[in-house]
């Protein structure tokens, strides 16, 4: 089992950041590498078990299933069903925590997965830096820093 963890301070109140990231179908609106997204079978994006199917700007296609969404804890967990990354048992969680000092937000994004031996470092780099941290950096810039 390989783990990835990244975090950033987002210069906005947690409620404002949550409005954006809680939309399971909203990745194209803020993640720089996502071209388009839809929820399969016309389900609501906040229905637990729904599946988002999205296309990356490089053409790749990913399907992910919503496992948990909490407006109380400000967190969202999902599993990958299909992707070009060749990972298995991939479960990720994106969560927000208010920083009372300055009314900011700590955004954490973590994932656990299995992969072929020897690919851990490359996948960790790709997911941690290329996906999660890049998306959080975009989120920061969206709020003006």
């Amino acid at each position: 089992m390989t783990k990835v963890y990244v975090s950033s301070v987002i210069p906005a109140p947690a409620a404002d950041v949550w409005k954006i990231v809680r939309d399971f179908n909203g990745l194209p609106g803020w993640a720089p590498f996502v071209a388009e997204s839809r929820i399969e079978q016309n389900a609501h994006a906040d229905r637990i078990g729904c599946i988002r199917s999205f296309t990356l700007k490089d053409g790749g296609r990913i399907r992910e299933k919503l496992l948990a969404l909490s407006d109380y804890d400000l967190s969202c967990s999902y599993a990958i069903l299909e992707s070009p990354m060749q990972v298995e048992n991939y479960v990720a969680t994106l969560s927000l925590t208010p920083i009372t000092d300055g009314n900011l937000t700590l955004a954490e994004w973590q994932a656990e997965f299995d992969c072929a031996p020897g690919r851990e470092a490359a996948l960790t780099q790709q997911i941690g830096s290329g996906v999660f941290q890049a998306a959080l950096t975009a989120l920061k810039q969206r709020f003006g820093r």
Partner: protein
């Protein structure tokens, strides 16, 4: 049940912050509210179940038990066993998380407890602000000082540890964090990290940020030492929050001005005698409102040695009690810094001056300043002596900064309709007195506070002008102050407290 949750970002690697916070017995070394701490039974501080028994700076005692400690999650939980406040069922936890884009640490401090309904808001505020937020600030200052003490390039390159295979660190640090270490200036200063004796006055290199838009930076040339600094050092006054730099009086030169400052320029000679504390330093930033410009005929050392005392003498002799020609004035501790000014100035105003001192040597000094009569109070009862010298009439006004040892005698020495000006308590608190009994002589008692006479430019200016005019007319003279190197501040305090000094003391940066 209420919940309190506070969180912040500390601009330091998570290992550094955790190394400080995980020590369940180490809070007295960083939290300003805590004076001392020990683990009951000498257990190790990281044994779950350990009980820390600690004392607050205000004297309260508490016991707390470690419920959980995790180096993996960097989380620590504890509960309160005994406390002087009704924080019923208080369970708290501290948790750290790394911020991976940059090298910072997220710190959350939260708790739940059951307060009595009528004290709910007060206790929530106390926990959130005086415990949690004050703790955040203390750790931030502690780490900033370490940074300042250690050049950036010499700092150990500690990477934030993350679960296996962390993301690359090529992403730039977030802009909301403090400026990079390279741009931080430092200054030498006396830092008080815990309240106590003179030994807590230690010379350190501390961070000196650029002045805010509404501040100026002063490079000190001489720093006044006053008894109020002792009260700050011991924690008797809450003017100095730990860790902090004491001192409220200095002279120097403007070295930089904030963008919103007008009327002061780099190179101007200035002095001040006002809070906030921070004068025991080579350089500091401060609001300019209460800065006094120095003319060429007032030296830096004279200003630093006498501005606070001179301003105080001015309002004591003119506002608190307006001394008139022919009045009899009793001045205690007359050889001390402010006592010497009061003796000279009261005489200049035409009063008959009776002074008390503790020794014959000091009596000679005070006679030289023009006191009409000098009483060595260690040898004779000063109240009886005053009655004898005034043919039983007593004095019109007593200036008493000695406190416990003299207050009763001062009342006894007063004339009918006399005025006791109690403006200090060097020997201890004056205790409780029955105001009703003051009617036996129609006595007035004043308890002036320096700030109330000097905390605005329009209040301060007349006293400064009057004092400098008195210096120029030689109505009062300020002797050469005893000078100490800034690093020897502890020695200066020892001498002041042991009453080895007469006249003023200054520190030279």
């Amino acid at each position: 049940m209420v919940q309190v949750r506070q969180s912040t970002i500390i601009d330091a690697p998570i290992e550094e912050v955790w190394a400080i916070l995980r020590d369940f017995n180490g809070h007295d070394r960083w939290h300003p509210a805590i004076a001392s701490s020990e683990i009951d039974g000498g257990e190790p501080a990281d044994a779950v179940g350990a009980v820390r028994h600690f004392r607050l700076a205000d004297g309260g005692e508490l016991r707390e038990q470690l419920l959980a400690l995790s180096d993996k999650d960097r989380r620590l939980s504890y509960c309160l066993l005994e406390a002087p406040l009704p924080l019923m069922g208080y369970v708290a936890s501290i948790r750290l998380k790394p911020v991976t884009d940059g090298n910072a640490t997220f710190w959350e401090w939260r708790s739940e407890f059951d307060p009595p309904a009528h004290r709910r808001d007060e206790l929530v505020k106390l926990v959130a602000e005086d415990i949690y937020r004050a703790g955040f600030a203390a750790i931030r200052n502690l780490l900033a000082r370490r940074d300042a003490a250690m050049p950036a390039e010499a700092r150990p390159a500690i990477m934030p540890s993350r679960p296996t295979g962390a993301a690359s660190r090529s992403i730039p640090a977030p802009a909301i964090l403090a400026p990079s270490l390279d741009t931080r200036e430092t200054t030498r200063a006396i830092l008080v990290e815990r309240y106590g004796g003179p030994e807590v006055l230690e010379l350190k290199e501390i961070a000196l940020p650029p002045p805010a838009p509404s501040e100026v930076r002063v490079r000190h040339t001489a720093i006044g030492v006053n008894f109020i600094d002792v009260y700050c050092r011991t924690g008797f006054f809450d003017l100095l929050r730990l860790p902090g730099v004491p001192g409220m009086e200095a002279a120097g030169v403007i070295e930089a001005v904030g963008s919103a400052i007008s009327g002061l320029s780099i190179g101007d000679r200035v002095a001040y005698a006002c809070p906030p504390v921070g004068a025991y330093a080579e350089r500091r930033n401060m609001a300019p409102d209460l800065l006094v410009r120095l003319s060429d005929d007032i030296s830096d050392e004279t200003a630093a040695a006498s501005l606070l005392k001179g301003v105080a003498a001015s309002f004591l002799l003119h506002d608190v009690h307006a001394v008139r020609p022919g009045e009899v004035v009793l001045i205690h501790a007359a050889a001390g810094g402010i006592g010497q000014l009061l003796v000279q100035w009261a005489r200049h105003l035409g009063a008959t001056v009776i002074a008390t001192v503790s020794s014959d040597d000091k009596a000679r000094i005070v006679e030289g300043l023009g006191a009409h009569r000098v009483i060595v109070y260690s040898r004779e009862d000063f109240a009886e002596a005053v009655m004898r010298l005034t043919n039983g009439a007593g004095t019109d006004v007593v200036y008493d900064a000695v406190g416990a040892d003299t207050f009763g005698g001062s009342l006894a020495a007063l004339a009918v309709r006399g005025h006791l000006v109690s403006f200090g308590q060097a020997s201890g608190p004056i205790g409780n007195w029955d105001v009703g009994r003051f009617a036996s002589k129609s006595i007035t008692v004043s308890r002036p506070n320096y700030g109330h006479y000097t905390d605005a430019p329009e209040k301060l200016a007349p006293h400064v002008d009057r004092f400098f005019a008195a210096l120029r007319q030689r109505a009062v003279r300020v002797g050469q102050p005893a000078s100490y190197d800034l690093a020897q501040a502890a020695d200066a305090h020892r001498d002041l407290e042991a009453r080895r000094t007469s006249g003023a003391l200054v520190l030279l940066p």
